[in-house]
């Protein structure tokens, strides 16, 4: 289960960041922000390849001592970043993938809301619930 989930706009500013309240939020903000270096690099490397049928899941961005950071980028260049505890070895790549897919679906629902203005911070209860279901329950 994730310890931090973030949605980053095309222009690389945060649309949504949630992390486990037990830990230093600022640290996760920095982790997500720095991971964008790798996301950017991966996207630009992909730009050369075929654009249509590309894989949205970017895989493990980089491992730190304590966390693993995974990335996912939609066709409209909105990025999802998920931070998972390194000690959590039960999470397979496939599970991460399906979590991202779930997140993407939920994000699509947010976008479909006519009252949501693309580019604004996400303030949706449904999206919140989806994220909560993926997060490590706060104890």
């Amino acid at each position: 289960m994730a310890v931090c989930v973030a949605v980053i706009a095309k222009e690389n500013y945060p649309l949504y960041i949630r992390s486990t309240p037990t830990e230093n939020q600022l640290k996760f903000h920095y982790t997500v922000h720095t991971s964008l270096d790798v996301v950017d690099e991966k996207i630009s490397a992909m730009g050369k390849a075929v654009m249509d049928q590309r894989e949205l899941y970017l895989g493990l961005l980089y491992p730190t001592e304590d966390y693993k950071v995974y990335g996912y980028v939609t066709n409209s260049k909105v990025k999802f970043v998920m931070v998972v505890d390194s000690s959590n070895t039960s999470l397979r790549d496939n599970e991460i993938r399906s979590m991202f897919r779930k997140l993407h679906n939920s994000y699509t629902d947010v976008m479909c809301n006519p009252f949501y203005n693309p580019g604004d911070p996400i303030q949706s209860r449904a999206f919140d619930n989806t994220v909560t279901s993926m997060m490590v329950p706060a104890c």
Binding site: Y13, P14, I17, L26, H33, V38, T64, F115, D120
Partner: protein
């Protein structure tokens, strides 16, 4: 204990090389020996064998060898690895001792010398007793040796010397010091290297042989020690593959050791050493992934081995060192050609090292927080007998004690306290910052700008903790804009908060104000109470008071800061600050807009400035002024309000300069533009909003252009996308998002109130004086003055058009080439209200095509704007597109007298020139006259008078003329002869009489002239009648100066009978004519072929009768025989 206790020992980090000592060399006084030594040690490139040489005296005492243990049964090791062991084998115990001795084969006193040499060898052997170290002898000789086998004395004496010294033949060398010294030395050292390898091989065997005596219970430490030694000897032997294998085994053995709090440090130290060696060798073997994998395994295994909780900072320090060392190795490998990638580069290891250094600092701060009264224990538990530990990683106060129980808890306590007190003295921040800056350098290299920024923030924060606020501020300020431009407001706020603390602690006024402005702004994610506190502080600063200290600041530093602030207060001057707010997100936003993108000069320029604040409390500004590109307008756009300093926070919202948070305030300005600025742009160059007043400090918030800040453009985009309905606001309030900046406006001239009309009859005809009637009528209410007209071809068209277009006001005569294409500033004078001017303009277009003509009327008028009289210049322009066409087409053809088409004419034979003028003008044309101007080569056969004078041609009508011409004999050429030209004088039928006639000259085509020797002409009636005689006379004319012999034959025709000479040969004299008479008798009615005349000129064989036939009729119409009555009527006719 030095502060570098965590650093790896030098002997571990260096590349082990075989150790060889050279004795018997006097490098100070003997030049030869010096040269030999230099050849050994100088210029040791990578292609030379890896040996470290040392010069020692012959009687040097080598470390004593301990007596060999025969049994390990009762032996209990005291530690894993002795601290001196590596150094001993690198620098003290040689693999080979070389004895240099000067001796030539033909030495006179051979016996004596030989025994002296043997003694020297013996001395060396003595001091190496018990060791396997090899001994070799090098004889330094003056003479070049003879090839082997030739010098009998040499081989004999060499054998004797070997015997005397107890040496094998392989250990005796000869070194002639001749020209090729370096070459000999290289051969020598290769030989030494072989000896050294043999030595290390035997050493490895020796250590391995101990293994069988060991048992797993008591000798666990020895397993590690021996394995390490084997690996190290392998390295000395330059067998890196086996070294790596043995180090790996050693590494596994280390982790098999029973660990306890007491020996944890020793195990970790050794594990760290071996890991270092493994990683180093992996990088050396170019298998970086193995190195990384080994390192990860190492970290995973050791991460949790914290050891004593009271000394947990030691674990952090050790971890930090592990990462740093790996980062160094990685970096080293990259310098030697390894390529790293974005996600796997040394930066991550330095970053992690820094992270552990931070943890170390925290733990140290936590654990070593002793009272000042706690004294350093005495006697010093960290002191050892010789200043160093016996074994790596052991505690000074219980060296060699293997028991896990603490025999002396008091001593243990003192030791821990000593370590803790030592730890306080470590300057952690320095370590952290240097690691961070290493990481920054790496991330910069591997395209990680955000990671770099993050580390720089950490560096800044570390400097803040280290109380170096200047450096902290510099770093934080540097990265702030990155976070701001990427709009990570949470992170920006955190950085700003630290920066504000730094600015406060240094009492940096301008920085303090700048950071406050942004922390109060909408980008700040601070809580309302924090913002409120900052705003109050800001107001205090503005009133020239000291602000309250920032929370969580170091108490002692706050005291210093308060003193600094007090100094600032008392110090007058420099209380005016200009802050460029465009670069960040201040708490007050500004948008300035001209109400229209253009203003007429006779109406006032209107300008709105909108301000809005986001701070928690209402705030009062003292002045708002706007700067323009033309500074003369600045004076009109200033709002100022005098108030007393104490009122600054008063809740009165009546004052115009007091801004209530979240409410948009509009300021309206109006000014009259200067008439000189007509056609120019007026731009808002700056908006200055002044906070604070004369009494306290004064801050000028400066926006360049029409306002906006680092976040506003994105906000505008978002707002424009939004579908949300904006809530209704009271009448005079506006929505901030709905205001768009309009920073420039154009001053345009007053709208003219005149009409300009153009009358003309298009299209224009080529070369005619085309009349364009301009009618100007004033609709102004007052007199307009200085009316000027500029008329003609509109500039900016094809340059050829300018050449071929002439404009004139005088229509009575044709334009000449001096007339311009555009008449400028024709003065017309004044015009009364309602007055009207008409003016014809004549245009002469030399080529057909489309042209655009411009009529531009300008005038001056006096008018009033906002009670000010100004003289406005107004202008109106009209353009008209005029097509120019040819008025007519002229067709010319040459025909024979018989109106047959001619493609060439014959000398002296008359022909006709026919002209045909076809009017293509939509308007009626009057042809005044026409004239044929013949060239000299052509003469007219009769009078040349015009047949088309004063003819009016409507569209599509044509007028034809016919001239009979003759061509006298000329020397003809390829192109023929010029015939002259045809001039048509014409005008538009509708034009006045005064309008001149246009002469259009048409050049007639050239004609080919040919001379013929014989001309033949037939006289025959226009028709014949069946069965009635038809007399035909042929005239043959000799055109040459020769007598012509001619054969004539008449070919019979079915339609005719004929009488006359059927075949004749005759002569014609030059210039004379011969007549031939025939009587044809038609037999059939209809268009019948005449009997043809075949003429053959004997003198001109080329001249065929075919050509001559052109002059003769071929057919004739034969009427049938009519009745008598008809016949009579015909005869009557």
């Amino acid at each position: 204990m030095s502060p570098t206790q965590w650093d790896f020992p030098v002997e571990l980090c260096c590349r082990p090389m075989a150790f060889v000592t050279l004795t018997g060399l006097d490098v100070t006084f003997n030049a030869v020996h010096r040269a030999i030594w230099d050849a050994f040690c100088a210029n040791r490139r990578a292609d030379r064998v890896p040996i470290s040489f040392k010069v020692l005296p012959g009687d040097h005492e080598y470390p004593k060898c301990r007596t060999k243990r025969t049994s390990y049964e009762w032996y209990i090791p005291k530690g894993i690895l002795k601290t001196g062991w590596m150094n001993k084998h690198l620098n003290l115990v040689p693999a080979l001792v070389v004895v240099f001795y000067e001796l030539d084969w033909d030495e006179a006193q051979w016996k004596e010398k030989q025994s002296e040499c043997a003694t020297r060898v013996e001395i060396v052997r003595q001091s190496l007793q018990g060791r396997n170290t090899k001994v070799a002898v090098v004889l330094i000789q003056k003479k070049t040796p003879l090839p082997p086998g030739e010098d009998m004395i040499a081989s004999e004496r060499a054998a004797a010397l070997c015997n005397a010294c107890d040496l094998s033949g392989k250990s005796l060398f000869v070194l002639p010091h001749t020209d090729h010294l370096v070459g000999y030395i290289i051969r020598l050292e290769n030989a030494f290297y072989e000896h050294a390898q043999t030595y290390y091989y035997t050493e490895i065997r020796r250590v391995k042989s101990h293994k069988e005596f060991l048992n797993k219970t008591t000798h666990q430490l020895l397993f590690v020690r021996h394995q390490f030694k084997i690996a190290f000897f392998s390295e000395l032997k330059q067998d890196t593959q086996n070294a790596l294998k043995n180090y790996r085994t050693a590494y596994n053995l280390v982790h098999e050791l029973r660990s306890h709090e007491t020996n944890m440090l020793e195990i970790k130290t050794m594990a760290g050493f071996i890991n270092y060696k493994i990683c180093r060798l992996c990088f050396q073997h170019n298998t970086p992934l193995d190195a990384i994998a080994q390192f990860r395994k190492h970290i995973d295994l050791c991460k949790k081995k914290i050891g004593s909780a009271e000394l947990s900072f030691e674990h952090a320090a050790w971890m930090s060192k592990q990462f740093q060392a790996f980062g160094d190795l990685f970096d080293e490998a990259i310098k030697l050609g390894l390529t790293a990638i974005q996600t796997q580069n040394p930066g991550f290891y330095y970053q992690q090292a820094a992270y552990y250094a931070q943890e170390r600092k925290q733990l140290a701060g936590h654990l070593c927080n002793h009272e000042a009264s706690v004294a350093y224990p005495s006697p010093d538990p960290l002191e050892t007998v010789n200043g160093v530990l016996d074994f790596y990683g052991q505690r000074a106060w219980r060296q060699g004690i293997l028991s896990f129980d603490l025999s002396d808890p008091e001593k243990e306590k003192a030791g821990i306290l000593a370590l803790q007190l030592k730890e306080i003295e470590v300057i952690h921040s320095e370590l952290i910052i240097s690691l961070l800056s290493n990481a920054v350098a790496q991330f910069k290299k591997y395209k990680c700008p955000r990671m770099k920024s993050h580390l720089m923030v950490q560096m800044g924060e570390e400097y803040y903790h280290a109380k170096d606020y200047t450096k902290a501020l510099k770093l934080l300020d540097y990265v702030m804009c990155d976070y701001r431009s990427e709009r990570w407001w949470t992170l920006l706020t955190s950085i700003l908060t630290t920066a504000l603390k730094c600015a406060y602690l240094m009492a940096q006024l301008k920085d303090y104000i700048t950071y406050s402005l942004e922390l109060l702004g909408r980008a700040s994610t601070l809580k309302e109470d924090q913002k409120s506190r900052i705003e109050k502080n800001l107001i205090k600063v503005l009133m020239n008071e000291s602000p309250d200290p920032e929370p969580e600041c170091d108490v002692t530093m706050v005291k210093t800061a308060q003193r600094l602030w007090a100094d600032r207060v008392s110090l007058a001057g420099s209380n005016l600050f200009t802050i460029e707010v465009q670069e960040f997100v201040p708490f007050v936003q500004c948008k300035a807009k001209f109400l229209s993108p253009t203003f007429h000069v006779d109406s006032p320029v209107e300008l709105h400035v909108y301000l809005r604040t986001d701070c928690p409390h209402p705030i009062r500004f003292s002045k708002l002024c706007i700067g323009f590109s033309n500074q003369e307008y600045n004076q009109f756009c200033v709002v100022e309000e005098q108030y007393h300093a104490s009122e600054i926070l008063e809740q009165s919202t009546q004052g115009t300069m007091c801004l209530v948070p979240g409410k948009t305030r509009k300021f309206t300005f109006k000014f009259v533009a200067k008439t000189e600025d007509v056609g120019k742009k007026i731009e808002i160059s700056s908006v200055d909003l002044i906070l604070g007043g004369d009494a306290g400090r004064c801050v000028i918030l400066n926006w360049r252009g029409g306002g906006g800040d680092a976040a506003s453009s994105q906000e505008a985009v978002q707002a424009s996308r939004s579908f949300k309905r904006r809530p209704k606001l009271p009448e005079n309030e506006v929505h901030w998002d709905s205001v768009a900046i309009q920073a420039s406006t154009m001053i345009v001239s007053r709208v003219p109130k005149i009409s300009v009309q153009l009358h003309h009859e298009p299209p224009a005809l080529n070369n005619e004086m085309y009349c364009l009637k301009i009618t100007i009528q004033s609709q102004e209410t007052t007199v307009i003055r200085d009316v000027k007209i500029t008329a003609g071809l509109k500039p900016g068209q094809d340059a050829n058009l300018t050449q071929k277009t002439l404009v004139s006001l005088n229509g009575a005569e044709l334009c000449d080439d001096s007339s311009p294409a555009l008449l400028t500033d024709i003065p017309v004078g004044d015009l009364q209200p309602g007055g009207k001017i008409e003016m014809p303009l004549y245009i002469c277009c030399g080529t057909e095509g489309t042209r655009i003509f411009l009529v531009y009327v300008s005038y001056l008028i006096e008018t009033f704007v906002e009670d000010r009289q100004i003289i406005c210049k107004c202008h109106k322009d009209e353009t008209v597109t005029i097509e120019t066409v040819f008025p007519f087409e002229v067709a010319v053809k040459f025909v024979s007298i018989k109106f047959e088409h001619l493609d060439r004419v014959y000398t002296d034979i008359p022909f006709l020139l026919m002209t045909d003028i076809l009017s293509t003008s939509p308007w009626a044309l009057t042809i005044k006259s026409s004239q044929l101007q013949l060239a000299s080569s052509i003469t007219s056969a009769d009078q040349l008078e015009s047949h088309v004078e004063n003819i009016v041609l409507q569209t599509g009508e044509s007028a034809s003329e016919c001239f009979c011409l003759q061509c006298p004999p000329v020397v003809s050429n390829q192109t023929g002869v010029a015939t002259g030209c045809y001039v048509i004088s014409w005008k538009r039928s509708s034009a006045d009489n005064s309008v001149p006639v246009v002469n259009t000259m048409i050049t007639l085509p050239h004609v080919m002239v040919e001379t013929i020797p014989l001309h033949i002409r037939a006289d025959l009636p226009s028709f014949g009648r069946v069965r009635e005689s038809l007399p035909v006379k042929y005239h043959l004319q000799n055109k040459t100066s020769l007598v012509q012999d001619i054969e004539i034959a008449v070919e019979p025709s079915d339609a005719f009978m004929f009488s006359g000479l059927k075949m004749i040969r005759l002569q014609i004299l030059p210039g004379t004519e011969q007549e031939m008479l025939y009587n044809f008798y038609p037999l059939m009615a209809g268009y019948q072929q005449l009997p043809s005349l075949n003429i053959n000129l004997l003198r001109f064989p080329n001249f065929t009768s075919h050509l001559l036939k052109r002059f003769l009729p071929t057919h004739i119409f034969v009427k049938p025989q009519g009745r008598q009555a008809e016949e009579d009527s015909i005869e009557a006719a």
